[in-house]
């Protein structure tokens, strides 16, 4: 993860606190983000940076999930509105979201989310499969659910988020 001026500083949680999750060898690190009322996790190796999406240029005729394009230090980043992607209503508190920068097939994308939490290291063994009654739209982009102490964290499969194939483009 590159740290730069507009990247938000994130402190990795000291491992002591979450020791409960690190019992067996295999662990993974996730950045926790909030979209609506739900906690999500994005695998740390996927994440390049976290930034404030500024001067987003809307792309006419694009899929509604595409919030627009923006300039991120000389790179053109395509911003994906995660609320739309998850079929959630637009934000009504008037606050600006943040974007998690990811790279997919050599292209830069920004997943626009509500807020960023912390970096968590959790054991892979506590990963549960998607519950079968989960909204198909959610299920299609989730790798599974991590059971944290007090809440559930849906793990976002970045590749699936950006894979719009098979979906109606005209939407």
């Amino acid at each position: 993860m590159s740290s730069s001026g507009d990247s938000l500083g994130m402190e990795e949680k000291s491992s002591g606190k979450d020791d409960a999750f690190v019992r067996d060898g295999a662990t993974s690190e996730y950045i926790t983000v909030m979209i609506g009322d739900q906690l999500f996790g994005i695998s740390v190796p996927m994440v390049q940076d976290v930034f404030m999406p500024e001067s987003v240029t809307p792309v006419p005729m694009a899929m509604p999930e595409v919030a627009g394009v923006l300039n991120m230090r000389g790179r053109i980043v395509t911003a994906i509105d995660m609320r739309r992607r998850l079929d959630l209503p637009p934000r009504d508190d008037g606050k600006n979201g943040l974007a998690v920068g990811v790279e997919y097939r050599g292209e830069s994308y920004g997943l626009v989310i509500d807020s960023v939490g912390e970096v968590l290291r959790v054991s892979d063994t506590s990963l549960e499969r998607n519950p079968s009654n989960l909204d198909p739209r959610w299920r299609s982009i989730s790798m599974g659910v991590q059971q944290l102490k007090d809440k559930l964290m849906v793990l976002i499969d970045v590749e699936k988020v950006l894979d719009f194939q098979g979906r109606s483009i005209a939407a």
Binding site: T57, P60, V66, G74, R83
Partner: protein, 927 residues
């Protein structure tokens, strides 16, 4: 220096360096097949290239060395002296190469000393003069090569270079080298170089001023990726410079100004230099063509000349690679489809030899490539048939298209006009692929064709793909970049100014220099939603959500309030794509910027309206509009206007004369017009008198019931007051067309500029300086009386029924007028657009009872057509009627002389039918 030669030198020198290294390895591991194979291959390549370039001395030497190595490869024992001799041979080759590089001619001389030894060795013997123990690299040299210029086995190139410079001229060398053939050498050196010299010298003289040192040292091979990388970085630099310039521009007095100016200049130069490294002459893409043409002419039994003009025109390597295949394909096509066989050419009065001309030149920031042939031209009729049979367009649609538009169908997938599939072309793939490839690189392709004279394909492509100049425009608060390549001009439109946006049935058009330019509103096109001012400016974060709302609103509301209001000021970007010309209406225009095209993310690539995105000087990202995508999204008939614009001469001749038009209003505010000659009467009825039956409005008129239909078919008739009606009568049938208001009768030139998809409208024209829709009367007649054109002929001439009339007129408008007249009278009408097409029908064995022909037509005039018809037996007996606007006595006589049986003024509706009736009747009696 010859490109081929310098390429050869660079390459061979490299190969030889490798051979040196490999040979040494080989000496140490004589049983390593891999190394041997490697060396063998390299030497073989050198030999092959030498033979190809006509360098006999090199070839002979390389051949001998190759033979020996071949033996080794086949299992003969490797001896040290063998390797040594091979090394010597390599050295000799290098010497010759050095000489070659300096003089561009192979030095004369004989290498029999080495060759003999090589031959002996490869025949299994041992060389006596090379002692076996002389394995050390230096030792055998003295023995084998007493000549003074001989170098040790592993000289470095620098040494060779120096050695060469120190060495005496070639003649001395030759003498010293081969004392045993002194006699021959004394004679040989003179003529040999002389034979090749003149050309080489001329070139050398040209190149002399900048040529210093050797080619091998001057040119280095750079990996293409490295260049691409460099280009990307320079592109970024350009962007950053633009950004800095933008920032400093806002400061009034900045100390940065001067250094920034410097930076800007350097960046510009750097950009130029890097671009130059990628530039290659287009001739590189043409190299194979002479051979292809030669083979083709043999295969097809045609005589073909290939002329290439502007082969040194340079363009970006990347672009060059991309157009190579399309170009080859098109040249093949021209030779195969375009050109006729020698016999056909002679028969049509052309020289036996066909010519394909390839032309390249720079124009603005792009390169134009033309592929021209002087063959038979495209067969419009056949394309039409193909188009219809492949279901790409209906015949009715085709009727409305110009020849040019029809020809453009060859760029559609799955349309090959070759009657038969030859090995060369005609497989139905090709031109569409060509077009796709060219459009992929932001280029465009178009064609011109003239029957019997040939076709010209024109390709316009940007010089480079990385950086383009673009116009930055704004619509609905969003900025977009339009590549300058496609922009012809900018027009500022204002409601009360000379240029204002007018509408024909809600279709916006602009009058530009007496032509109608179809317009598209950018906000409409891109489905942009105008932000109502009250909402206030969107803050950056809200855009994310705001955008979603916009799209939602756009989906839920079919007619949102977008579009620049007519009263407001708007800018029209006149855009040219292929042959289509249209205006994109935007709110405002900023300046032109050099932008670096960056491909859009893959999830955005399905949007054909954009070709990519870019970062502007101020750091914001904007989308780059793809003019091709826009052109495709606009209805194809748009190009009609530009077609006309390109063929002013044609219209001047074709739609000769003025005609009386009845101008009226119906439906929308735009005036409509119909040729007065078609209207029988103008009537005004009291709406109360209208009767209704069977869903039809009827009116008692002269003792009969006359159907009344509204010109605007969806609209209801007036409910009270008086209703103006245009009455059209044929024999005993009449129909009335209800209009809102009869405006005027005007006499004007009628040029239908835009064809219309609207039923009942033929198209739009400028009448008395106003955009006016022209009514297609036939549409209404058939609506009421489905059998209008099929009914029995009028009582007076029963002969007319089923008689075949050939109508030759280049103007689709007049064909559209004359056809219904004749059809109404009972004739079966066949239409063609030119004399050549008419004669083509004759070739096909078609028969007609009467030929009606226009006089002034592009290409073959009516007089020429008449002469041609009367000049050959098949059709000699078919009576011909001339149709012209000028009915002067002189014309009449000339027509008679040419072979016309009668002469009718255009628009003399009754006259024409009468004349045709008479002729048919007379002929019937005579027969």
């Amino acid at each position: 220096m010859d490109d081929l030669l310098s390429e050869f030198l660079t390459e061979t020198n490299e190969s030889l360096d490798v051979v040196d290294v490999e040979l040494v390895k080989f000496e140490q591991e004589p049983n390593n097949d891999e190394i041997l194979g490697n060396i063998f291959r390299l030497v073989h390549t050198v030999k092959g290239t030498c033979g190809f370039l006509g360098l006999p001395r090199l070839e002979a030497l390389a051949h001998a060395a190759e033979t020996l190595m071949g033996k080794y490869r086949d299992g003969m024992g490797v001896t040290n002296d063998g390797v040594t001799i091979i090394l010597h041979s390599i050295d000799r080759i290098k010497e010759i190469l050095a000489e070659l590089e300096a003089t561009e001619a192979e030095p004369s001389g004989v290498d029999s000393d080495l060759i003999d030894q090589l031959v002996v060795l490869s025949e299994g013997g041992t060389t006596t003069d090379v002692p076996a123990e002389a394995a050390a690299a230096e030792a055998p040299l003295e023995v084998a090569q007493p000549a003074k210029e001989v170098r040790p086995g592993e000289v470095s190139e620098e040494e060779l270079e120096r050695a060469f410079q120190e060495a005496e001229g070639p003649e001395d060398m030759v003498v010293a080298e081969t004392p045993q053939v002194e006699e021959a050498a004394a004679v040989a050196p003179e003529p040999a170089p002389v034979a090749e010299a003149p050309k080489a010298e001329a070139k050398a003289a040209e190149a002399a001023p900048k040529k210093e040192g050797s080619v091998a040292a001057q040119s280095i091979r750079v990996n293409v990726d490295t260049l691409e990388n460099l280009m990307t970085m320079v592109s970024e630099l350009v962007l950053t410079r633009n950004q800095l310039m933008e920032m400093v521009r806002r400061l009034d007095d900045s100390e940065f100004k001067v250094p920034l100016q410097r930076l800007s200049n350097v960046t510009g130069e750097l950009q130029g230099a890097v671009m130059e490294t990628r530039m290659q002459p287009i001739g590189n893409a043409w190299q194979k063509l002479p051979r292809i043409i030669r083979d083709l002419s043999k295969d097809l039994n045609k005589k073909i000349d290939l002329e290439m003009v502007g082969a040194d025109t340079e363009l970006d390597r990347q672009v060059l690679d991309l157009i190579k295949d399309p170009l080859t394909h098109m040249v093949r096509n021209s030779a195969d489809h375009g050109l006729e066989t020698a016999e056909e050419r002679l028969a049509s009065g052309k020289s036996e030899k066909g010519r394909v001309t390839l032309r390249a030149y720079h124009e603005g920031g792009h390169i134009i490539i033309e592929i021209e042939d002087d063959g038979r031209g495209l067969n419009v009729e056949r394309i039409k048939q193909k188009v219809a049979s492949n279901g790409l367009a209906t015949e009715a649609e085709l009727e409305k298209l110009t020849e040019q538009q029809i020809c453009r169908f060859i760029f559609h997938p799955g349309l090959s006009t070759a009657a038969e599939v030859t090995s060369v072309s005609g497989r139905g793939v090709g031109m569409d692929v060509v077009r796709t490839n060219i459009e992929l690189i932001g280029g465009s392709i178009d064609l011109r064709t003239a029957a019997g004279k040939g076709s010209t394909f024109t390709i316009k492509i940007p010089l480079t793909l990385a950086i383009v100049s673009a116009l930055i425009v704004e619509s609905a608060g969003e900025r977009f970049a339009i590549p300058q390549l496609a922009v012809v001009e900018l027009v500022r439109a204002k409601a009360d100014s000379e240029h204002r946006i007018e509408h024909i049935n809600k279709t916006p058009v602009l009058r530009l220099r007496n032509h109608l330019l179809p317009l598209v509103f950018m906000d409409d096109l891109l489905q942009l939603e105008r932000v109502v001012p009250e909402v206030g400016e969107q803050d950056p974060g809200a855009i994310v959500d705001g955008d979603a709302e916009e799209i939602e609103a756009a989906n839920s509301n079919p007619t949102p309030v977008r579009r620049t209001s007519e009263n407001e000021e708007a800018f029209i970007v006149v855009t040219h794509v292929g042959d289509q010309q249209f205006g994109i209406v935007v709110d405002s225009v900023f300046d032109t910027e050099e932008i670096v095209v960056k491909p859009a993310a893959s999830i955005l690539r399905d949007i054909t309206m954009f070709s990519g995105n870019t970062i502007l000087g101020d750091g914001s990202v904007i989308m780059i509009v793809d003019p091709n995508g826009i052109a495709q999204s606009i209805a194809s008939e748009l190009s009609e206007a530009s077609d006309k614009a390109h063929s002013d001469a044609e219209t001047a001749n074709g739609n000769d004369g003025e005609m009386s038009l009845l101008v009226f209003r119906a439906g929308s505010g735009e005036p409509k017009a119909v040729p007065l000659s078609l209207v029988t009467r103008l009537e005004e009825f009291d709406v109360a008198d209208l009767e209704h039956s069977n869903n039809q409005s009827l009116m008692q008129y002269r003792g009969k019931l006359m159907p009344i239909i509204n010109v605007v078919e969806s609209a209801a008739l007036k409910t009270e007051g008086r209703q103006p009606v245009l009455v059209f009568t044929e024999d005993e049938r009449s129909i009335g067309l209800a209009v809102d208001e009869i405006v005027d009768i005007v006499t004007d030139h009628l040029n239908v500029e835009l064809t219309s998809d609207m039923p009942g409208m033929m198209g739009s024209a400028i009448v008395r300086g106003k955009a006016t829709e022209v009514l297609d009367v036939g549409h209404y007649l058939t609506q009421v009386f489905e059998d209008w054109f099929r009914k029995e002929g009028p009582a007076g001439v029963p002969e007319a029924y089923g008689k075949k009339v050939l109508l030759v007129d280049d103007s689709s408008f007049f064909r559209a007028i004359v056809r219904p007249m004749l059809s109404m009278a009972g004739y079966e009408v066949t239409e063609v657009t030119s004399g050549a097409d008419a004669l083509a029908l004759r070739e096909k064995g078609e028969e007609f009872d009467v030929i009606i022909s226009d006089i002034e037509m592009p290409g073959m005039t009516g007089f020429e057509l008449a002469a041609a018809v009367k000049g050959e037996n098949t059709w000699a007996d078919i009576p011909m009627v001339a149709l012209s606007a000028h009915g002067t006595a002189e014309d009449l006589n000339r027509g008679r002389e040419a072979g016309f049986d009668d002469y009718v003024a255009k628009f003399d509706r009754d006259g024409l039918v009468q004349v045709v009736n008479e002729i048919v009747t007379c002929k019937g009696e005579a027969a």
